[in-house]
């Protein structure tokens, strides 16, 4: 079956075409086709993952490709590449997407004919992600990467024509889509540059060539460092890391299902996946990994601050996504740093610690996918019922929406790192990875402190959101919804919530059953970097985590965060206004302005972008056009002037001709005399 891996991205792509052509005629405007396509992809992923993991090839990668085209000596391929990381990624992506598509049937049910466009685009989106996951080389990956960029643009701007909330919201959606597209494009240009550097250095973009230590040895380390830093620029754009993080909160202008898709199953996970996939190249230089870790750790902390006082339920989730992505990147950076040091010194223990960091990052990516999809779909369910995204207008929804409130509580507990929920396991492994790296570089110690503080903030803002939405007094829109009988969402929405809630609780235990072995990053004795086939620690994680005093620190901090949120927003014993002078303090305002990043982007694009554009415009109009116009003007003007010689009288012409002949004849004779005789 593994030879049919290419079908996994192909099926949703086929659905895209089918929905595009026949969508209008099918029930739900193609919704069932999209669901079927995602489900088939999931089934195929399951079969292929099972066959690979139990088959004889494991842990060696299974790779096959066909030649796409030649340019001189360069051969560019299309193919698939299956290892432990691929298996995990394609399983959770297709699974969560299937659930999101099912949920969409309820959530987008009132969108009429536009549903066709929606389902076609999400199918293509999924196809982009799955294609990226199974790609066998960087070029193929880049193509699917861009497919996703396009689809995210289309989907974020889905309501840019007619928004349910009016014209202001629709122009907001249009500008959010543009922002997402342009900001990620900035990263993509870096990535493309990185790929050119790699292609120049290796003469190939196939993973099997790139991950071979023999080939890596032959490459100039500085070139490789440059290439990987540029590739990481692409990650910063796609995974919305500091300083290109600001498009993701704006991307909330799209339908909630799209946010769920972007944050959980696709898009932002692609950046983290790129780091994980390119790990063999990233670990060649510890400084690159240090940079990766710094960006990740700082993003985790920095973006969490903005979630603290946001009143928009989706925005809070968006910032939490940014923060969690920061965790993943931090973990990969810390792990890679240790691995790189270990490779330099030949220290196997360090390399094992680095592998643990890698596992933690990938593991957190999977857990985050489950609980973030759940949280977004819950918030969508709430928005569907109350018709607003402002949490101040909600409140007291617990009785009206029992299923949503409970599933969202489970998701919040998970992301807050409440013991034994999935987020707890992976977040503590991430923090542990940062701590281990802190032994070798004091900067990671700082990042570790930031990560701990972030864990506290995460617990606080997630429960602030939950309490504000479901507890306390009934808000304006809650009462309004109750009057109109808008209670719990339809079954097509609550069923995916329940399924995901189960995963949000238990997916952390997967690591006890061999997930870490499947994700471990190793250099095989044969000389090839790859993912999979490592030793699985199983239930040792229990003793490892619960004998570590810092685990208790994070647990206590998370509980304190939840308790403070409870006192502030459920019991109302502490007035949150006390800490920010009723929204007048400088910090509060800065946070509301998102640390001024939207303004910074605007200033940059106005001052820098517009300035450059004006310069280019000047060169184009004055220099380039000026030269061409001047030349043509000179020719035309000269012709005009000379044409006045023509009188139109044939006698004048004939006299000139005769005069010319006479002059020529005289000249001829004179020259002949001088030259010496006829």
């Amino acid at each position: 079956m593994i030879e049919y891996t290419w079908l996994i991205p192909f099926v949703p792509m086929l659905c895209f075409v089918l929905i595009g052509i026949f969508g209008q005629k099918t029930p739900e405007k193609g919704g069932y086709i999209a669901i079927a396509g995602a489900a088939i992809s999931f089934a195929l992923s399951g079969i292929i993952a099972l066959e690979y993991l139990t088959g004889p090839d494991y842990p060696n990668v299974v790779v096959d490709s066909i030649c796409w085209f030649h340019i001189g000596d360069l051969q560019l391929n299309l193919g698939y590449y299956v290892d432990g990381l691929t298996c995990m990624m394609m399983l959770f992506s297709s699974f969560i997407s299937t659930l999101i598509f099912v949920y969409s049937v309820g959530y987008m049910g009132d969108q009429g004919g536009r549903k066709k466009r929606y389902y076609a685009e999400v199918s293509m989106f999924l196809s982009g992600m799955l294609g990226l996951i199974v790609s066998s080389n960087f070029l193929e990956m880049f193509i699917f990467w861009e497919v996703m960029g396009l689809c995210s643009y289309l989907l974020i701007g889905f309501w840019s024509f007619r928004h349910p909330e009016g014209d202001a919201a629709s122009s907001n959606a249009a500008s959010a889509a543009k922002k997402a597209f342009l900001v990620t494009r900035f990263g993509d240009v870096c990535l493309m540059g990185g790929l050119f550097v790699l292609l120049g250095a290796f003469g190939s973009l196939d993973f099997v060539d790139l991950f071979n230590p023999v080939n890596i040895q032959n490459v100039n380390p500085d070139t490789l460092t440059l290439g990987m830093l540029l590739c990481f620029g692409g990650v910063i754009g796609k995974s919305a890391q500091f300083p290109l993080h600001d498009w993701l909160p704006d991307a909330m202008a799209g339908p909630t299902t799209v946010s769920s898709l972007i944050h959980a199953a696709t898009m932002v996970k692609a950046g983290v996946y790129l780091v994980a996939r390119g790990f063999p190249l990233f670990v060649q230089n510890p400084d690159v990994m240090l940079f990766v870790g710094l960006i990740g750790g700082f993003t985790a902390f920095f973006t969490a601050t903005m979630a603290l006082n946001n009143m928009n339920i989706k925005r809070v989730l968006a910032y939490s996504t940014l923060s969690q992505l920061g965790y993943m990147i931090l973990s990969l950076g810390a792990g890679g740093y240790l691995f790189a040091l270990g490779m330099d010194s030949g220290n196997a223990a360090l390399m094992a610690a680095g592998t643990a960091g890698f596992v933690a990052g990938c593991f957190h990516m999977m857990n985050h996918a489950f609980f973030k999809a759940l949280l977004f779909m819950c918030s969508g369910s709430v928005i569907h019922a109350v018709g607003t995204e402002d949490m101040r207008l909600m409140g007291g929804l617990r009785k009206q929406m029992p299923i949503t409130s409970i599933t969202m509580l489970l998701g919040s507990l998970s992301i807050a790192g409440f013991p034994f929920f999935s987020g707890f396991w992976s977040k503590d492994l991430v923090i542990e990875a940062a701590f281990e790296a802190g032994d070798h570089n004091v900067l990671f110690m700082v990042l570790w402190v930031l990560a701990i503080v972030t864990a506290f903030m995460t617990a606080f803002y997630m429960f602030r959101m939950w309490f504000m939405t479901f507890m306390g007094e009934k808000g304006k829109n809650t009462l309004h919804a109750a009057e109109h009988g808008h209670g719990e969402s339809p079954k097509s929405m609550t069923a995916p919530l329940c399924i995901l809630a189960v995963f949000a609780v238990v997916s952390g235990f997967f690591i006890m059953f061999g997930l870490d072995g499947m994700l471990s990053f190793t250099e095989l004795p044969g000389g090839f970097f790859q993912v999979g086939g490592g030793h699985s620690e199983g239930f040792e994680y229990f003793s490892e985590l619960f004998t570590n005093p810092y685990t208790y620190l994070t647990i206590v901090l998370a509980l304190v965060g939840i308790y403070i949120a409870y006192l502030m927003y459920a019991k109302k014993k502490i007035n949150p206004g006390r800490f920010n002078r009723e929204g007048e303090s400088v910090l509060y305002k800065v946070l509301t302005k998102r640390w001024g990043f939207p303004d910074l982007y605007n200033q940059l694009s106005w001052k820098l972008g517009y300035g450059i554009a004006r310069g280019v415009d000047y060169v184009d109009r004055q220099v380039v056009d000026g030269t061409v116009n001047g030349l043509s003007g000179a020719v035309v003007g000269g012709g005009e002037a000379v044409s006045r010689v023509q009188t139109g009288d044939v006698h004048d012409y004939s006299s000139v001709v005769l005069l010319g002949i006479a002059v020529l004849a005289v000249l001829f004779i004179v020259i002949a005399k001088i030259m010496g005789g006829i």
Partner: protein
Amino acid sequence: MIPFEFFLVLAAILFVIGAYGVMTKSNAIIVLMCIELMLNAANINFVAFGAYNSDVMGQAFVVMSISVAAAEVAVGIAILLNAYKLRKTTELTDAELTSLRW
């Protein structure tokens, strides 16, 4: 035997008459005829030099030249006819015709 110089003098006289006509006459048909005179002056020179040098190429060129002249007259007359249709005159100094120059 007629001296060689006579041919050259005859050709020169013919050419000058033709040139004079081209320069002074304002009727386009007369100008065309004068051009023919100048051409024939050249033809006489061809034949004379050909005979004097016992070279048959002179006569061959004359045949060629006459046929070219015939074609040229055909085109010239056609243009003149059109000009006449347009202006009911063949005067070269006609303001409307000279204004076609640019």
